[in-house]
């Protein structure tokens, strides 16, 4: 794979294999309007120059704090949001710029699971109607097979058969998330963006839903983008993780080496700020000082410079490039040259 000068697509496999989905130099700016003429007075730089690739069957995690652009990125990938610039390829085929008609067959292959499925499920439809709507629209199965397909879906996500005739509000949080998963699976997608799918759930329910998603991932060979602010969950669930800060990727590495290999001071700070559930391992949490810069006006240098314990002069002047420091492990930091 050729690498662009601005940022290499991190950790694409060495082989010539085409990744399932690939993003190159994605940018998303949200205009802020104001004044008497309602002109664009500023831009929120939500995502800046993000490139990555996900292999077929791989789960890529995205972590970062609120406002770092992780959800925007997820929505751009399945074109719920239009990127301001950059390219998205599915199995090598460019999908930015495709019109609605052309997107239809691709939409079906890509689905999203939200943090709060309640707000994404029509409250006036029963589960059967909800699922049927999507299945019929995309013609996934014929009319005769519809009922048995719905039964099968409901069983797959571990809901009881009688759930079919209930409304979304009749379910508990965990069951509702199962419903959100069933809705996403109904179209037999190959790629799923899961945006904080377990963040709103109690721990015991969180474990149930994570296990279900793992089962499905294996059985159906799903490729996933898993967005979360919880490093422990990402570490457990994902193959690789992309760490974002203020719209940029600062580091990408494999999850099984996260704690040992994390290079970037921000990744290290995230790890250190995460409370460990072992009273014998009680150490002071890493506390960062300094303020998060505004995405309206990102600083000229590294966005993390204002809070970084290892900051150097160069960090305030120049954005560090995302460079391969070790095989398959790019990070963007001047201090760790």
């Amino acid at each position: 794979m050729t690498q662009t000068a601005a940022s290499p697509a991190p950790s694409a496999p060495e082989s010539a294999e085409v990744p399932f989905i690939e993003a190159r130099n994605l940018v998303k700016k949200f205009p802020v309007r104001g004044g008497v003429l309602n002109r664009v007075v500023a831009n929120v730089h939500a995502v800046t120059d993000v490139s990555f690739a996900i292999r077929k069957g791989e789960t890529l995690g995205i972590v970062g704090e609120s406002g770092c652009g992780k959800s925007t990125l997820g929505k751009m990938l399945i074109r719920l949001l239009e990127p301001t610039a950059g390219s998205i390829r599915i199995e090598g085929r460019e999908i930015t710029g495709l019109n609605h008609q052309q997107m239809m067959p691709i939409r079906r292959r890509m689905q999203i699971i939200f943090q709060d499925p309640y707000s994404s499920l029509n409250p006036r439809l029963t589960v059967r109607q909800l699922l049927k709507e999507a299945i019929a629209f995309h013609g996934v199965v014929g009319r005769d097979a519809m009922e048995s397909y719905i039964d099968q879906l409901i069983a797959t996500v571990g809901l009881r058969p009688e759930a079919k005739d209930k409304f979304p509000h009749e379910f508990s949080g965990g069951q509702r998330q199962r419903l959100g998963i069933a809705r996403a699976l109904a179209l037999k997608p190959e790629f799923i963006v899961a945006d904080e799918p377990v963040s709103a759930l109690d721990v015991s329910i969180q474990a149930q839903v994570l296990n279900l998603m793992m089962d499905l991932k294996e059985q159906l060979g799903l490729t996933m983008l898993f967005i979360s602010h919880d490093l422990k969950v990402v570490e457990h669930f994902c193959d690789r993780v992309l760490v974002m800060y203020l719209g940029r990727v600062v580091e990408t590495l494999t999850c099984d080496r996260l704690r040992q290999d994390a290079q970037h001071p921000y990744t290290r700070a995230l790890l250190g700020a995460n409370p460990i559930d072992d009273p014998d391992d009680r150490r002071p949490l890493t506390v960062l000082t300094g303020d998060v810069p505004s995405p309206l006006n990102p600083p000229p240098g590294c966005a993390f410079a204002s809070r970084c314990p290892e900051v150097k002069d160069r960090c305030r002047e120049e954005v560090p490039p995302l460079e391969l420091k070790q095989a398959g492990h790019p990070s963007a930091c001047w201090a760790r040259e």
């Binding site: 704090e65 609120s66 508990s172 949080g173 965990g174 109690d202 721990v203 015991s204 329910i205 969180q206 474990a207 149930q208 994570l210 296990n211 793992m214 089962d215 602010h229 490093l231 422990k232 969950v233 570490e235 457990h236 669930f237 999850c255 099984d256 080496r257 996260l258 704690r259 040992q260 700070a269 995230l270 250190g272 700020a273 995460n274 409370p275 460990i276 559930d277 072992d278 009273p279 014998d280 391992d281 009680r282 002071p284 949490l285 890493t286 506390v287 960062l288 303020d291 998060v292 809070r307």
Partner: protein, 343 residues
């Protein structure tokens, strides 16, 4: 830490709170007992609906009187007064002065139409005899204490001008400006990012040491509990089911629910990577349809006939054990480690 000669600052005895609902009366908190000693941090953990928030709101008497009933036998002993039966004017002297509370979402507890300074001043106006000038000085000092940069400027700002972490720090400043004996923190960091959470937890701990405030921390996050608490109370379906010093609870959980809860969180480090997490089957029983015996019975893998017939009492099973509400507690003799999480 809990020496025999130290007196608890708060004693909760037989705390029972019911709600009137369309479906009848429901008992949200059922016979909860605990003591709070000065300068200690107690964690109350449990899943949604277990009664942890109702417990704290009952102590503060913040539940709406139309539909909540505090059982007359409940005792909340604080400084010689039973808060369970105290009048509203008595409560007003306690609230914010002696016992302060911070909530999960500071934006809903800060008043959007008044400045930060005004809201700090309000607490001082009610509870102290300081002059206006002294109160302003104290407000600025409090903001500085919670590490808000440029406090002279910030007192003039409104809540919407602050970030989420800063709002929570303002809440803490308001809560602590009268140097309360007890700070009740209900999920204070749940809505915050981990880096901000770390700041808030460190701040609360500093202030606890400086002012010897006891902290009652209500949370569902076991990592937070393991990091800051001295003692832990585990609640399930309105009942306290286990109560122990933090290390004891994590290393030797005796209630099957506690053990399962601890196991169901993903562990730091890579050992468990890609494996299935141990889960607790089923869901929390509805408070309207509580079983006669143990409330955890339907989800418990060790259930026996006795668990169906008879609800266990909260008591230590052997000398030196911590109290547990289970007929057949685990880890009675072995020092079974819960996690070997370090890489």
């Amino acid at each position: 830490m809990i020496a025999g000669d130290r007196k608890p600052v708060l004693e909760v005895r037989g705390l029972t709170t019911r709600f009137r609902t369309d479906r009848g009366i429901v008992t949200a908190v059922d016979d909860v007992n605990f003591d709070v000693y000065p300068g200690e941090t107690i964690g109350i953990v449990g899943e949604s609906g277990c009664g942890k928030t109702v417990t704290s709101k009952t102590i503060m008497r913040l539940l709406p009187e139309q539909n909540s009933i505090i059982d007359p036998s409940s005792q909340i002993l604080f400084g010689g007064t039973n808060l369970a039966t105290a009048s509203e004017s008595q409560m007003r002297r306690v609230r914010g002065d002696k016992i302060a509370m911070i909530f999960q979402e500071p934006m809903t507890s800060l008043n959007p139409v008044f400045t930060v300074g005004w809201q700090l001043d309000e607490a001082l106006r009610y509870h102290t005899k300081l002059s206006k000038k002294q109160r302003l000085e104290r407000s600025i000092e409090m903001l500085r204490l919670v590490e808000i940069p440029n406090p002279e400027q910030r007192v003039k700002e409104y809540p919407h001008q602050l970030s989420g972490g800063m709002r929570q720090r303002v809440m803490i400043a308001i809560a602590l400006c009268c140097e309360p004996d007890i700070l009740i923190a209900d999920e204070p960091t749940t809505a915050l990012d981990v880096t901000i959470q770390a700041q808030i937890l460190a701040l609360m701990d500093d202030l606890r040491k400086k002012l010897n405030t006891a902290i009652l921390l209500i949370t569902h996050d076991l990592g937070v509990v393991a990091t800051v608490c001295d003692r832990i109370i585990v609640m399930y379906a309105g009942r306290v089911i286990e109560q122990a010093p933090v290390r004891d609870l994590f290393k030797r959980p005796q209630h099957p629910y506690t053990k399962a809860l601890l196991e169901s969180i993903p562990k730091a480090g890579n050992k468990e990577h890609g494996k299935r997490l141990p889960t607790i089957k089923g869901i929390v029983p509805s408070l309207f349809e509580l079983p006669a015996g143990c409330r955890f019975q339907d989800r418990c893998e060790f259930k026996q006939q006795r668990c169906i017939d008879e609800e266990p009492r909260l008591e230590p099973k052997a000398q030196g054990d911590h109290p547990v509400r289970c007929h057949f507690p685990l880890n009675q003799d072995v020092d079974l480690t819960v996690s070997q999480s370090s890489p």
